[in-house]
Symmetry: C2
Amino acid sequence: MRGVATVAVIGAGAVGCYYGARLARAGHDVRFLMRRDLEAVRARGLEVRSPEGGFRLEAVGAFAEPEAMGIADWVVCSLKTTSLAEAEALVRPCVGPETRVVALMNGYGVEQRFAEWFGPGRVFGAMAFVCINRREPGVVDHLKYGRLSVGHFEDDPEEAEELAAVLRSANLDVVVAPNLLHARWEKLCWNIPFNGLSVAAGGVTTQEIVDDATLRRVAEAAMRETVRVGNADLAAARSAARLDEDEVVGRLFGLTDTMGAYWTSMALDFRDGRPLEVESILGNPARRAAELGAAVPTVDALYALVRFAEASARG
Amino acid sequence: MRGVATVAVIGAGAVGCYYGARLARAGHDVRFLMRRDLEAVRARGLEVRSPEGGFRLEAVGAFAEPEAMGIADWVVCSLKTTSLAEAEALVRPCVGPETRVVALMNGYGVEQRFAEWFGPGRVFGAMAFVCINRREPGVVDHLKYGRLSVGHFEDDPEEAEELAAVLRSANLDVVVAPNLLHARWEKLCWNIPFNGLSVAAGGVTTQEIVDDATLRRVAEAAMRETVRVGNADLAAARSAARLDEDEVVGRLFGLTDTMGAYWTSMALDFRDGRPLEVESILGNPARRAAELGAAVPTVDALYALVRFAEASARG
């Protein structure tokens, strides 16, 4: 997979727009399935603001229907998991015999669904460690970080390197994970405490969490529980890969301590009354922990409180 | 202690008014230190509404200053623990050589303070298992239950029986606890999950907690953690008394399931912008657990979230 790839981005939220724009800038043929931003992007292109150097794509392939997008080499599905039920119908029109499908989504249990729909050999997962927010239509605010951790559903290292090569051609920071499950849990180690607490504490940024000593301890407790259930899940999957609890805690708090007043995606969704990725980020891991017999009381509490907060907000 | 007792009620909130009124109706000489309700009670007396039979006291000894109340046989201190720093100064004017002092308050670590101030031999604790709310000044709404669990600070059974006898003379349901620490933890087994979650979930009644399956599981987890740290604390105090985890869970959820849409005192304080008893109900037990090396992750999470919610509400 060298040269120009055809990439279909399904679900052009902040993450899809950012990585898609980076690939397009590198010369790949990127087509975006857009909803909210469609007219703005058709009229004015797609702008990425970033302290690392912003840019604007003038001519962007922006589509309202996946049927119009054509078969792609790579389909990057960056829908929210709250739309996972729609993903198959939106992705399938872009999938031909050679197409590979990348779930660039949050949460636990996502690739399994894609593997069921499209066959496991063509399915990948990608985890974005990036601070990014949508702005007005056609504009994405890249704030900080951006590393992608990627893996192949069946953990074929050559396949994973194919994906990594495409992404690196856009000068992106890419790590091929020891395996996909490991990468999922590593991402959950951040998402569970910080997305969870950002809503459970009433709608706050990461700064409030790391600056309040007692909230910070709860975040750490949730992170350590996540490492442990992740390792139990890796063991159950007969993987030798493990998360190093203290390394993960040190590294992810180090990143978050310098993140500033960052609004997690879940806090933004909560603030703006959109559906929360509560089941994929909190519910599925909590249920997996229960299956594995791993105690995750802090995660359970965050799951219950976020779920209840969303239900209350919807009245 | 038979016959008529002189009782000074310091801190005439819902609990102080209710039990004081019951004692007054039984013929005891009860004097109330009042703030908010003073003028109303002087003008119209004190009314208790209750499904078990309401009543009104026409002539009530209502005082603005403890110095005017005289020495009492019993001082019942029913201040909120957020006013614990003021308790000594408010109680002392009513304390003579024979006076006994009852802390009818929530939380952990309360009697210790009274023992330091007034000497351990005259200090008692009382835990009210009662659903009760204040209404307009001079009116208390007794909703359900009412059992008092009492103990002497040095666990002198004869002393504890003296207190029980006075309370029973007012036809109150009184249990003399195996020891005071046991009674404290038993009360915390309800207060920690239900006061904690009622605020952490954004300001809800007990009904929302027990009816939501995931919140209910969190409440149960917090209760079980509380039982365990309570038992560790009893062991550390060389007490043979223990809380039976399944019995406590079964009984307290049984009570709460039939409580209806009850607003905990902490949820009411939160709703009305008053200080929360977060340190005595959640913080002190969490710190005691840490001292004992007992893991209480759910309690820690509730403590952090309630503390943060209060701080946020105060801006």
